[in-house]
Symmetry: C2
Subunit: 252 residues, 2 copies
DNA sequence: TTAAAAGAGTGAATACCATTAACCATGTGT
DNA sequence: ACACATGGTTAATGGTATTCACTCTTTTAA
């Protein structure tokens, strides 16, 4: 019976005790159930009771795994962030490493596609759901900005280093805005002039607008498919960076 | 006691019976309480029980006034829409009637200011809250777009009629996008070429992005005050329309 | 090997909430 | 004065989060 002596000092294989394995499984299943329910019913329909039913356990049991409903949401928030960043990162890496235009294009398209395919998750990461999580936690606000900003920032850095960007000089930027850009730069860990940071923010502001239009759909009555508007936007933005649409774009 | 014979055939003064007056008052108070609670607690904290407490009545009584919680939210949605449009409209009308630049600028600033001062309401009108209401109701999706689109559309119409706009010709626009623009134009009731409609949508996409950044605050860690970014944006957008910032702008 | 400790689940209890139904008081109009 | 519509009540149902006390099992240590 007690033949389960897997736990070795050298953590070679099956270094997990039975309890740890079951715990990991239930935690994984609970988060999966939570995401499925949230996607189907919306975030307000995500109840501990429903998750408990989904994994065949009573609601109080979930308190051994998450800090209540808020803790569960926070837990899937972290998963979703990782998944989102990974998706966008993969889309960029699928391009020719020297084709920055294609990488920017593909990454942006991936952001739109993921957001449309995961509306509830988008709301949690970058919409109203974010605000609720952010007010209770301290470290949250920077996560998504740092990860996504870092990803796009690498591409902007390459453009800057190649001398292909035209952007305002430090002195031309309004002092208040300049201070904000410096804060952003240091939080995200970027290493180019704030004029380039300004370009990033201008691009993001436009992308984000299209994203919210797509996800929240208050113009859905006319713009059911936002791809045409996206095509125009991406050309605009690439132009702003002195680029043209790459002929070698690979969208999976 | 029954001396309340106000109801005349000619509805001159006090054409309201006692019951009607009390009903109107409670409905008004309930909606006011609901908006106060929503602003303080967030939309998910808006419960019928809390509203009932606020107006000194038991929860079931509110069912005589609203179709449950969803009906109450729908009711304040209509109020909020009217208030929002009125606010923006006033800001535009406060300008010189011939100064279209100032009117556009002031209206846009008013949109930002109102959104920041009424984040929960913004979410209801143009964010995640909208999507939830829209899926149950049919007429909803067009309300805010028609009202706001009509308001800005008037100004774009003047610019177009004065021949000051440069925009793509009908043939230059991607057919799918053109169809969407025509749908939008007819729903909102605009009367200029779809190239001008395209300009409107491009502007709105950018404004909306800044709004969502401001309201949902996922860049708040660096851009606490979005006014500097707004200033840049408004110059960009006015430039896109062949305008310059008006020296006669009046922001209340 | 065996006993203590830690962990993970349960059921019961509390306290909210929405919603419906039955019922009662009162204002309204004939 | 009387019938009726209106607007409120209480009670009941069923859903939710959360805490607590308790039990069973696994793990760990003597």
């Amino acid at each position: 019976m007690a033949a389960a002596g897997e736990t070795r000092q050298d953590g070679r294989v099956t270094a997990l005790t039975r309890r740890e394995r079951l715990r990991a499984e239930l935690e994984r299943d609970a988060k999966a159930a939570a995401r499925r329910i949230a996607a189907e019913e919306g975030i307000e329909g995500l109840t501990l009771a429903a998750v408990a039913r989904g994994v065949g356990v009573t609601p109080p049991a979930l308190y051994r795994y998450f800090n209540g409903r808020a803790g569960l949401i926070r837990a899937i928030y972290d998963d979703i962030t990782a998944e989102f960043i990974d998706t966008v990162d993969r889309a960029a890496r699928r391009q020719d490493p020297d084709d920055v235009s294609a990488q920017l294009h593909a990454a942006t398209q991936a952001v739109l596609d993921w957001s449309l395919a995961n509306k509830v998750e988008f709301d949690l990461l970058m919409g109203a759901g974010f605000a609720k999580i952010a007010e209770s936690e301290e470290s949250i606000p920077v996560i998504i900005a740092r990860e996504l900003g870092g990803l796009f920032g690498q591409l902007f850095a390459r453009l800057w280093n190649e001398g292909r960007l035209t952007c305002p000089a430090d002195e031309e930027i309004d002092p208040v805005l300049a201070a904000q850009l410096r804060t952003y730069r240091s939080e995200v860990g970027l290493e180019f002039p704030i004029g380039v940071v300004f370009l990033m923010v201008v691009c993001w502001r436009q992308i984000y607008g299209l994203l919210c239009m797509a996800v929240y759909g208050h113009h859905k009555f006319a713009f059911d498919d936002l791809q045409p508007l996206f095509e125009h936007m991406i050309d605009d933005l690439l132009g702003l960076l002195g680029l043209k649409r790459s002929p070698n774009l690979r969208l999976r």
